[in-house]
Symmetry: C2
Subunit: 224 residues, 2 copies
């Protein structure tokens, strides 16, 4: 599958690109700056991760089958508005957390309650949004050999958005869990400041979260 990572030159986008490329997906890394995205993709290819290309966000949105949004919250609305037509009909996986720097260990609810709900409103009903991947440490993701102790909650209203996202989570080597409707993105996004607080308080390079006592999880890797 061809995956467009919009705003994909950061740590999180890089880790996702490498892990998905490793299992055969083709990755279009997008950025507002074409040169930056191309250099970034070239660097990943040089490090042995084939199937990764770079371009601007519009190109990534236009050429990919599924889009993943990894932008800071302050660029969220403008980025979505710039690709709304190009994204039409495609599943959009929103990884955005509405942090309010510098207080990134405090929950901040955006006007629309969750970035993913705002994304759905901007993109319109024909472009189904899933919220996922907020809790996976970017540092751990960027080391493709590392086994990550973190479940991935996936919230979406549309069945296709949910199933496509759960499949892509499994391709990352992680356990994806159906977290319910898109409004539950409020819980997913607001847990990230808590994880940042735990990292600071308990000197962790990247706290993760595992769910226990699930008797019938899909592609179970861990938990009990």
């Amino acid at each position: 599958m061809r995956i467009g990572i919009v705003g994909g030159t950061g740590k999180q986008g890089s880790g996702l690109a490498m892990r998905w490329a490793r299992v055969g997906h083709t990755i279009a890394v997008g950025s507002r700056e074409v040169a930056k995205a191309r250099a970034h993709a070239a660097e990943l290819v040089n490090r042995g991760h084939t199937g990764i290309e770079g371009g601007d966000n519009a190109w990534a949105a236009a050429t990919a089958e599924v889009l993943v949004l990894t932008v800071p919250y302050e660029a969220h609305r403008a980025t979505l508005e710039s690709i709304v037509g190009l994204a039409s009909g495609k599943v959009v996986i929103d990884v955005t957390v509405p942090l309010q720097p510098p207080k990134v260990s405090r929950v901040h609810l955006p006007p629309g309650q969750a970035a993913a709900l705002e994304a759905q409103e901007i993109l319109g009903a024909s472009t189904p949004v899933a919220a996922a991947l907020h809790h996976v440490s970017a540092a751990h993701l960027a080391d493709p050999s590392r086994e990550i102790e973190c479940d991935v909650l996936v919230a979406a209203d549309h069945a296709r958005a949910k199933s496509v996202t759960l499949d892509l989570v499994r391709d990352l080597g992680l356990r994806g869990l159906d977290a319910g409707p898109l409004v539950n993105a409020v819980a997913l996004e607001s847990l990230t400041p808590v994880l940042i607080h735990l990292n600071r308080t308990y000197k962790s390079p990247g706290a993760g979260i595992l769910f226990t006592n699930l008797s019938n999880p899909p592609g179970a890797k861990s938990g009990s």
Copy 2:
């Protein structure tokens, strides 16, 4: 310590009462109905859990050193308003989740963003509120011999509220984690509908949550 459990005749209140009584705390189980609370406490004592008494919520609030609030969200404001003077200066641990039945697997944000933030506003600054214990399965809690695979996130603005709550969590046999300021109750409360959704989707009697990769947690029992 004498702990008042306001609205304590439900499953969650019972489990907390038994587990705290077992390690030597005295429990005042409160209810709007005195007879119900007394019968409930008598039943727990008959089952071998000594140190548990019942009475009305005002009596529980007045006689205890620390208060724990386990009421349905619809009774949250009225219950707090009925004990505001009696609770003054005491640590109040709010376990309330603002669910909106029958859609209890969907996040519902209350007017004040979190029940615990609303509690703090109602009680006033001299009565420090902590949010905690939203994710521990009531069924597991009610079996005092059961080892529960669930970390307990504790959010509070006041150091005393946080440390008293973390101590009481440890007394339950659970690992308590400092989840940051009280505003992070938004994350804690909104995760409960997600756990309810996981329970339904993956046929779990009570999903729990464990945090991984914490290098320096207090009273660590699990995780890595």
